[in-house]
Amino acid sequence: MFLQDLAFWVIAVVAVGAAVGVVVVRDLFRAALLLALVFVAVAGFFVLMSAEFLAVVQVLIYVGAISILFIFAVMLTQDVRQGNLPNRLQIPAVVLPALLLAAMVFTIFSTDWTPIPEPQRGLADLVQTQSVGPVENPALQRAGITDPAQQSEVQSAGLADLLLGKFVLPFEIVSVLLLAALIGALALARGRQGAG
């Protein structure tokens, strides 16, 4: 557990520090790199929270795609880059998020979160950790799940099952959304009328 805590705090420091860097450094290129670092750190959190699949997705999409996009964008607009100057809204931009943060922190501490009850704790761990594919029997047995009904339940509780089952509609919508974003980006990239 100590190692876990240590890892958590290390990642936390890295994540927050890098995030602050993203919004503070003048050089956009460095900001983009720091952003990638934040993404990686968040992926680390995911791992810590047994969301391995998400961690993978995070790395693939955020670090692998989005960061690259940002870097491209930064480079393409290099010629007009006046640096990443702050605008004139510094005071409200600090005060308001700070207030919001205070509210969030207050909420986080004053809320009586319902913990996962003990009988299901183990199952939940298992389901979350093994979220990608079917859970293998040995793992089940290690977790002390012997009831066949429970076993099959756990086995059927995969992210993929959810995405194609209970959440199939948003899944389908996302596909349309991606298509729309693609087409939109393409259409915007076509250039001015007459110019191309």
């Binding site: 959190f45 997705v57 605008n87 980006a185």
Partner: protein
């Protein structure tokens, strides 16, 4: 490591992102900050999924994955949003010749 710690880190990320979104003048930096906010949200989702009992936990153990599912969708949408956002940034860059939001304020009262 606890739920509260995790949530606070997430909230911090979110608010730092929010600050950046409000206070940076370069549109790319603003988009980056918005990504920070999404990451904060995702952390929150996953942490909640990890530590907080879903209402339907008695009926279906799979419901403990709901937060993660949400996070998956958020990541995807964020990607789409950034793709389109950068498209618009390029369009703006070409037509207005700048990526500085303080200079893109032609329309006002």
């Amino acid at each position: 490591m606890s739920l509260e710690a995790m949530l606070i880190i997430a909230a911090l990320l979110f608010c730092i992102g929010l600050y950046g979104a409000l206070a940076r003048s370069n549109v790319i930096a603003v988009l980056m900050s918005i990504e920070l906010m999404f990451n904060g949200v995702n952390l929150t989702f996953v942490a909640l999924a990890r530590y907080v009992a879903p209402a339907a936990i008695q009926e279906s153990i799979a419901s403990v994955l709901t937060g993660q599912v949400f996070a998956v969708f958020v990541i995807t949408v964020a990607a789409a949003e950034i793709a389109l956002g950068l498209g618009i940034v390029f369009a703006m860059y070409r037509s207005n010749g700048t990526v500085d939001l303080t200079q893109v304020a032609e329309m006002r009262n």
